[in-house]
């Protein structure tokens, strides 16, 4: 095939006639959680239990998602296991033809319930860890749950489903990174993620004590590189750098309204989990409208889709189809303009905002001030009232 297709013309003109179908659904089943992590990505305003969608409503949403072309659903929260009807919801997802992942802290769970979830069609269990040992994990999560997580990891490993260990890393626990790698090696999941905290939600509030120094970051890169080489063919190692230290922004959610949609516990549909920080956004609800209409026609999904909304800097940049101008929530949190270039981009005229934050955490004075810390220094994420 040669010549220009209508779709590439539209792209060149910044028009948006060819909207792709979504591939993944992130389903926040509840905002309740046994943990109180200081970097929780949930919004500061948590959804109350009485506003949570019932299982039948979720079953319908999951069917609508599959009909839209969604292949995979991530059940998350809060803690999805906090819902007593989780097995029923997993069964509905699998019946709709979806690949089912549970993104979980592993509590509350016993082997009987795990067996029920697997029988209902659970494909993949992603278990979070807050450190390599109980003390550091307790400091970040405000709970003593590390030993239980080790137990859950062994249970899952004994059964034939996918297992990912997810270590959330930051200034206070990076010294344990090698121990985390060892722990992963002992459990031997198919996949392990070492994900630096990103700064939205509760993490934004606690940023000064979470953002690592450049020295810590460089050391972590070396450790991960060695782990990747050693574990190749046994464990897939994935590493997520903190945006603030990156040269270019990430392709947030694979592009706004391009690949992923997120349904909140009350049924509001968002293009990303932090989108409710953005001013002037109105989100549609699955109780009022079909998912298809929300994906293709709602103002929230149209708002930053494609290139029309972009500042000239992004619209004329070769990387615009790779990173889509970066993260809208990050742009808003740092510049107070949701339509600005993501300021982590080295080309952004506002990169100095990020650089001054980095200068602060890398100064000798802050190194002394910021570690070690005690529980009273943090803002822990509470449960919704």
């Amino acid at each position: 095939m040669s010549g220009t297709t209508p779709r590439t013309i539209c792209t060149q003109l910044g028009m948006n006639t060819a909207i792709p179908n979504p591939l993944a659904l992130v389903a926040e089943l509840t905002h309740r959680c046994p943990l109180h992590c200081v970097y929780c990505s949930n919004p500061l305003e948590l959804t109350k239990r009485e506003r949570e969608l019932p299982a039948e409503a979720w079953a319908r949403v999951l069917r609508e998602a599959a009909e839209l072309g969604v292949l995979q659903v991530d059940f998350t929260g809060g803690e999805p296991l906090a819902r007593p009807d989780l097995t029923e919801i997993v069964r509905a997802a699998r019946a709709a033809g979806l690949y089912v992942s549970l993104i979980t802290s592993g509590l509350p769970l016993d082997e009987k319930r795990l067996n029920e979830l697997i029988a209902a069609g659970l494909d993949h269990f992603q278990l979070s860890f807050q450190g390599a040992q109980e003390e550091s994990a307790a400091l970040a999560s405000g709970t003593r749950t590390h030993a239980q997580k080790l137990c859950v990891a062994r249970w899952v490993k004994q059964r034939r489903i996918g297992l990912t260990l997810n270590f959330v890393i930051h200034r206070q626990n990076l010294g344990e990174l090698e121990d985390m790698v060892r722990l992963a090696e002992e459990v031997s999941p198919g996949r392990v993620e070492f994900a630096h905290v990103q700064y939205y939600g509760w993490a934004f509030e606690n940023r000064a004590r979470l953002l690592p120094s450049r020295e810590q970051l460089n050391r972590s890169l070396e450790i991960i590189k060695q782990a990747e080489e050693r574990l190749r063919g046994r464990i897939r190692v994935e590493y997520v750098v903190p945006d603030y230290y990156a040269k270019y922004p990430k392709a947030c959610m694979g592009g706004w309204g391009c690949k992923v949609l997120l349904v909140k516990p009350d049924g509001d549909v968002l293009p990303c989990h932090a989108a409710n920080v953005l001013p002037g956004m109105k989100f549609e609800n699955v109780q009022a409208k079909p998912l298809r209409t929300i994906w293709y026609e709602s103002d929230a999904f149209e708002k930053y889709r494609g290139e029309e909304w972009m500042p000239e800097l992004c619209r004329s940049c070769d990387r615009r189809s790779q990173d889509f101008g970066g993260c809208r929530c990050q742009a808003f949190l740092l510049t107070h303009d949701a339509a600005a270039t993501d300021p982590v981009c080295t080309k952004s005229p506002q990169r100095s905002l990020v650089d001054s934050i980095l200068a602060d955490v890398n100064s000798a004075a802050s190194a002394a001030h910021l570690a070690p810390i005690s529980p009273s220094d943090w803002l822990y994420r509470p449960n919704p009232r």
Binding site: L23, Q72, Y99, D123, Q126, I161, L163, G190, G233
Partner: protein, 94 residues
């Protein structure tokens, strides 16, 4: 570097990896946090990663199925594809 699969080993989809339903118009290999689109030959290979077929048997069967292609090329392609799947932790060799 990924190592060359042993011809006598039996590839099997790793835990957490499976094909989507046959009734779907586009067949994909579903795995944690990703999905791999499958075309003719890749689907033929994946369908045989069942812990029963040896690598050698998969090669022989695909050489028959794609008899117009150079047999040596078919073998190389299959070995390379299986090694990549192993590195992505989609396939184990048993």
């Amino acid at each position: 570097m990924s190592s060359r699969p042993d011809p006598q080993s039996r590839p099997r989809l790793a835990p957490g990896c499976r094909l989507n339903e046959k009734s779907q118009p586009q067949r994909v290999l579903l795995m944690p946090e990703r999905a791999l689109r499958l075309n003719g030959p890749s689907l033929e290979i994946i369908e045989r990663c069942d812990g029963n077929h040896t690598v050698r048997q998969i090669i022989t069967e695909l050489q028959k199925l794609y008899s117009k292609a150079e047999p040596q090329k078919v073998e190389e392609d299959i070995l390379g594809y299986l090694a990549r799947l192993n590195e992505q932790r989609a396939v184990d060799f048993e």
